[in-house]
Symmetry: C2
Subunit: 232 residues, 2 copies
């Protein structure tokens, strides 16, 4: 398997995925076409979202088409060389993928060799479940199970900071709750700007910041980047 | 109906529910017993959580027992004078209430005249659904529908601030997404320290800060406290 899981899309320079260009080129490895899944977009129209992604991938020599514009979205996934899943709302993403019958097809296609590139909600989707998303549950996805392309959970946009004076739970407190309810799970807290490169069982951390590893019954572990994370 | 819906439990002085003492006394109106639902607690044991609430209500002359210690939780709810639902994780709260068969019983008992006091997750539970919770979906609650004691959604711990430099969605962006997916819904964003007092169709805002009202297709409306919010 061949995955690129990014915490977020916005680069420190304000550009869209510009921090990820080299990593996208590396995983693409000469593939010339990609299929985009825009379903996490809620306040952005899927046509506009697709155009934004087309504009990022075109200079890399990769032509992007979206499942929402395909006459047969399932066939588009079955033939995809690269599957690209964008961020937005994870619940909307999972609901729409489920309703379109794409979940088992995406998983099968990636297991058969297609590359998978996801950011934010699209990174969440690669895990066993979406139970460590930060998003608001604006729609019922009909169950929380996701693609299960990796054995660990992702928490994108990881930070432990709170707005000054705010009493809501910190991210570490939320993930501690997750581990109490799911004691055998493992979570990678991926700060903005970082990404994981997964090659079969190998998991490499990249980007400027340390990641935080959460395992039930253990203290949170900070790992400087770059690093090999497996076995978690 | 007779509801007290608090944004949060921690008072500015660091005390537990101390900011809510007068409001609890007012809604209790001489009732001497209350039944507590501790199911939102995940990293706090339910015995400890119950003791914390017992200690808050005892000086007000109200004896608290918890459904998790009752030999027949359903009977406890059916006979409750006051139902108290504490904060924590909203998904865990809804899941446990559903599994214990308490959702229709709580709703019926409150519609029949029992007082309802909830904070944070317990305030979320009073709305039509939990789709505007801030919590992480650490367990699958088996559907997002909640008590429906009020017609609007609650967003407790409301703030639009983000940690410095963070790119995740603001709360207003999250609630805008919710309204795109649920265009006929209305949401009260309740900042920490504030609460709603609901008497049948009347909804009064109390506490030190303005609340934010979200209605699909309209700009966010800030309402100074105190104020009557109905009709939303």
């Amino acid at each position: 398997m061949n995955l690129l899981l990014l915490s977020n899309s916005r680069s420190p320079d304000g550009g869209y995925l510009t921090h990820a260009g080299a990593a996208i080129g590396e995983i693409a490895a000469g593939r010339k076409t990609a299929v985009f899944v825009p379903y996490a977009g809620v306040t952005i129209g899927w046509d506009d979202y697709t155009q934004r992604v087309v504009d990022v991938f075109a200079p890399l020599g990769i032509a992007v088409t979206s499942v929402h514009q395909a006459s047969d979205p399932q066939a588009a996934v079955r033939q995809a060389e690269i599957i690209v899943v964008g961020g937005g709302n994870t619940f909307n993403l999972l609901k729409c993928c489920r309703e379109a019958g794409l979940l088992p097809l995406i998983a099968a296609r990636v297991r058969a060799g297609a590359a998978y590139i996801g950011w934010s909600a699209g990174a969440n989707l690669a895990g066993p479940t979406i139970r460590t998303t930060n998003d608001m549950p604006i729609v019922d996805p009909g169950g929380f199970d996701a693609l299960g392309l990796v054995s660990f959970q992702l928490n994108p946009h990881f930070t432990n900071a709170l707005p000054a004076g705010h009493q809501g739970e910190t991210r570490e407190q939320r993930l501690a709750e997750f581990l109490v309810a799911n004691p055998s799970a493992k979570v990678v807290g991926l700060p903005e700007g970082d990404w994981l490169r997964v090659r079969d069982a190998q998991v490499h951390l990249h980007g400027p910041w340390p990641a935080s590893i959460f395992v039930g019954g253990q203290a949170v572990r900070s790992v400087d980047s770059p690093a090999r994370l497996d076995p978690l």
